[in-house]
Point group: C2
Chain length 202, copies 2
């Protein structure tokens, strides 16, 4: 791609450095910004700068927040005896979007993955133990992806937390609601039979 | 989508305001920026701000440029008697990327489109006439999309420019090289037979 301007080239490179944006898309975004008012570009960069300058990590659960404590941890109506452990804030947001969970969270910041060089020391595990030791927590729900790394992480955390006298559970794993058994993968289907749950007529 | 932070929400909205970026992708970009060093975000916003502050329109051809005259118009090796008229700088860049054109350009800034409310007065037509009147230009190549709006624009420009004693041509329109006749659309195929060119054995 031949650029008529170093400024355009630099801006295209900036956008193309983001995940999932190639040079052609980046050029489209740059030309879009140039077509808008100058104030639109100013608002765009201001929002990103404000984010980068102002964003904080919740000192309780490691969620991203505007304050020292995130709005979930600060919410008196949430059940603080129930902690949902998630890998990252995208998973946290997905659970929040279900509108079905009224406990609080703990963001690990990843899962144990020897291949990627991520050990327990790289995750927010110490602060989770600390929270459990304070005695208010009754149950920890592991909402971690059922992958090999995820299962390893759940195993590691359980070994650490169970001796502290807290209950540990995982989110239900099985065939997805609305899913067709025919298309479920073998591992999921096999495990969902082994881990069958009693059917209760209400 | 529930955001734990107003700052994240604002930044997501900023990215989602760009064409082709939805809120989910925007969130991915925002979380990517947060994972990077602060300096990476600073570089990103600086490139965009520098672009918006520094970009200029070439006073000869309306190409985007860092200087008052773009590097193509300023290049003494380019043939200034040959002007290629394009809709926008993306088309200009596509032609430059072929490495086969050694003339100069004129960027119209769009095509005549009554539906979108774009009339001749909204395009860079006056400056093109002015360039032709200066007498240096021998031929104008219309490299404009063969759409109804494009054809209208070519017709309008030709009516204006031919009386000034300049030659007007359009880029060849027909079946694409490497294309299969079977899959060519009827209009293109029909016209490519009507506008057949003599085959010369070299």
């Amino acid at each position: 791609m031949t650029f008529s301007s170093r400024l355009i080239e630099k801006a295209v490179e900036a956008f193309a450095s983001l995940p999932g944006i190639g040079r052609k898309s980046a050029l489209r975004l740059v030309l879009h910004l140039l077509k808008q008012d100058k104030s639109a570009t100013e608002q765009f960069t201001a929002a990103i700068t404000a984010l980068r300058e102002g964003i904080r990590e919740c000192q309780v659960c490691h969620n991203l927040a505007d304050e020292a404590v995130c709005h979930i941890c600060a919410d008196a109506r949430r059940d603080r005896s129930l902690v949902c452990v998630v890998e990252n804030i995208r998973d946290l947001m997905a659970i929040e979007d279900t509108n079905q969970y009224r406990g609080v969270y703990h963001v690990l910041g990843g899962v144990i993955s020897p291949i990627e060089g991520i050990g327990p020391g790289d995750l927010n595990i110490g602060t989770l133990e600390e929270r459990v030791r304070q005695g208010e927590i009754r149950e920890i729900i592991m909402a971690i992806s059922p992958t090999i790394e995820g299962e390893t992480t759940i195993y590691y955390l359980s070994k650490k937390l169970l001796p502290l006298g807290v209950q540990v559970s995982t989110i239900a794993r099985g065939v997805a609601f609305g899913g067709d058994l025919e298309y479920a993968d073998e591992v999921t289907l096999g495990r969902s039979i082994a881990a069958r749950t009693p059917y209760i007529v209400k």
